[in-house]
Symmetry: C2
Subunit: 364 residues, 2 copies
């Protein structure tokens, strides 16, 4: 529109030099050069997780003819890994790439942005966040922190982690020093384990020295890099505390509002591309990594039903407990549980049933 | 760059009027107004499927400040549903939204763009197409038809369709007139059924009159609209011939190449947004639709293992048969099977294992 006014003005007798001074800022405003910083909670060595920010930034730059440039920074380059959300919230940087559940210390309700133990699976979490109540409920929640959030990446259901000894009964959890964070750690603590907070780079030496007895991290591709199989050969599944793990781009709300509408649209679509691309990458790199690990003697084990059932019961009790004093948590939890219960018959008849059939034939 | 040259020129003494005539086309070229038509294979009544084209077009228009406008047309408005691919291929329109496996008549290898019976599931198909050999193999295949393709939507694993009588053994398939198209129809034919091609609107009257004995369509949300439950109350699962159903945007290759790079980027990201959004929508609308159908007395039934196993065996024989004379099919089939076999242990330990755990707890 402004360009048309420019052309019109220029051809109706105003001196061209005057038209120039009008035109230049008009052009600058419609496609301004904007440079943002996006701080990731992940190091470059976790290339799929860190890569989400780069995939997003590349798409935004390309779609805006390099006018909107977002530079990605790995964990620690600008702020520490777990301060990424705060950095965007307080406008230290314009945006962050992180997992909402890293911030349960602010409010346990953050967990629902990513996953709560025994909560939605990957497809359900996407549905709840793109088309269900998840978006409706979480948008105003994040706004309280001056954040506009877009889903942007997923690991899928993770593995249950590495153990030095087999876990056969609930008794085997008692006193077990296990590296795990978030609500999963709270649940294991109620079952007698001792959750430990250990940074990624310290997991291997801690396991080797026996400071911890086990550790969960992610899936085969990322776990392989840490080398945990050398000191803790029992690899359990599933990671019921990470049945999905949806990541987000957390954007400072004022910065978001100041963006031209078409830059907002480019960023929204780029985040979705990053979301589907991240899951596609993990599903391409995890299978060969698991095969390599099994080739190195890793012992794959399902968690015993007794452990799963006790964990579920404990999780439900914990959610009721938190819901009693936290209105956000209660609202999100009830919505999530409703969605999950509603979804179950459909999911079981379709995806789960098809997977059952396909996996059975492949095993034969 | 051109804008900067413009400003520089204008301030270095060339008459401003002359600068104008240089500047205007330079602006027009970098952000040209482009109007495309996208023909869908779906009617507007299938709002989620048809909606994929609209979600894509809205994102593209918004990201380009309404410079790149794509108008969607429902099946039949410009060309019939199953001529969508051809219309883009021969440049009647610039692009189409359709399913590759509708075009197995040209070459059975088209099926791998969408799904082959007992093939990849939804996450695996995305992974194969975004990050695996699927993209590498299918890009040059589609190029032979002057097409550049982008994934854009999915139904997830579909249901196995509606039957007037129960299917308990392979014998129950003999002579069964079943509405189904594609390779699934070929497989059922080898097992004694009589596949029927019936348009969406004719399924109900055909079932009511007894011209056909059963029909598959999609999932609960779309199936409900056809009202098939009134005349064929047995609703089987899973639809092993549609274990996933990836849709594509098929873009005329010359038109794609003529697009400015940033319009290509906006369209690429918009297609990904449409892809994730479509699956999210189906996962939001199918669960309540299935609940409504069950409330109306629909009888949900799993296909008997005997039928599944015989179908799988027949499918494998069919693929070997087609592979013997079709090099494209053979290449795609071998790549897909390798990916599926590789993926199975990872998928079983992670997503499938988590779903098993979560569904078990919800059922209790």
């Amino acid at each position: 529109m402004k360009r048309r006014e420019f052309l019109k003005t220029a051809t109706t007798g105003v001196t061209a030099a005057a038209a120039m001074t009008i035109a230049a800022p008009a052009i600058a405003q419609s496609d301004p050069v904007i440079k943002w910083r996006c701080v990731s909670s992940f190091p470059k060595s976790l290339d799929v997780l860190y890569g989400c920010a780069e995939v997003m930034a590349k798409s935004v730059a390309e779609a805006t003819d390099n006018k909107f440039q977002i530079q990605s920074f790995a964990a620690g380059e600008v702020v520490p890994a777990l301060q990424a959300f705060d950095a965007a919230s307080n406008n230290t940087v314009e945006m962050a790439h992180s997992a909402a559940y890293y911030y349960v210390g602010k409010n346990p309700a953050f967990a629902f942005g990513t996953h709560v133990p025994f909560g939605l699976n990957t497809r359900q979490q996407n549905s709840w966040m793109y088309q269900g109540e998840g978006k409706t409920l979480l948008d105003p929640f994040f706004q309280k922190y001056s954040i506009f959030a877009l889903p942007g990446g997923n690991t899928g259901a993770q593995m249950g982690g590495w153990f030095r000894k087999e876990i056969n009964t609930i008794e085997d959890l008692k006193g077990l020093k296990f590296r795990i964070s978030g609500l999963g750690g709270n649940i294991l603590a109620k079952l007698g384990a001792v959750p430990q907070q250990v940074g990624g780079g310290d997991i291997y030496p801690s396991l080797e020295r026996g400071t911890i007895d086990g550790a969960e991290f992610n899936g085969p591709y990322d776990d392989e890099k840490l080398g945990l199989y050398k000191v803790a050969p029992f690899y359990y599944y599933p990671g019921w505390w990470d049945g999905t793990s949806l990541l987000h781009f957390f954007i400072n709300l004022d910065q978001w509002k100041k963006l031209p509408k078409h830059y907002q649209a480019a960023l929204t679509a780029a985040a979705a591309l990053s979301n589907v691309d991240c899951m596609a990458r993990y599903d391409a790199v995890n299978p060969p990594a698991l095969r390599r690990l099994l080739g190195l003697g890793v012992k794959l084990r399902p968690f015993p039903t007794e452990v799963i059932d006790a964990s579920y019961k404990t999780a439900t009790a914990l959610y009721d407990e938190v819901s009693a004093t936290n209105a956000d948590f209660k609202t999100f939890y009830e919505s999530m549980r409703r969605f999950q219960a509603d979804s179950a018959p459909w999911y079981q008849a379709s995806e789960y049933s098809y997977d059952t059939v396909a996996l059975r034939q492949i095993r034969r």
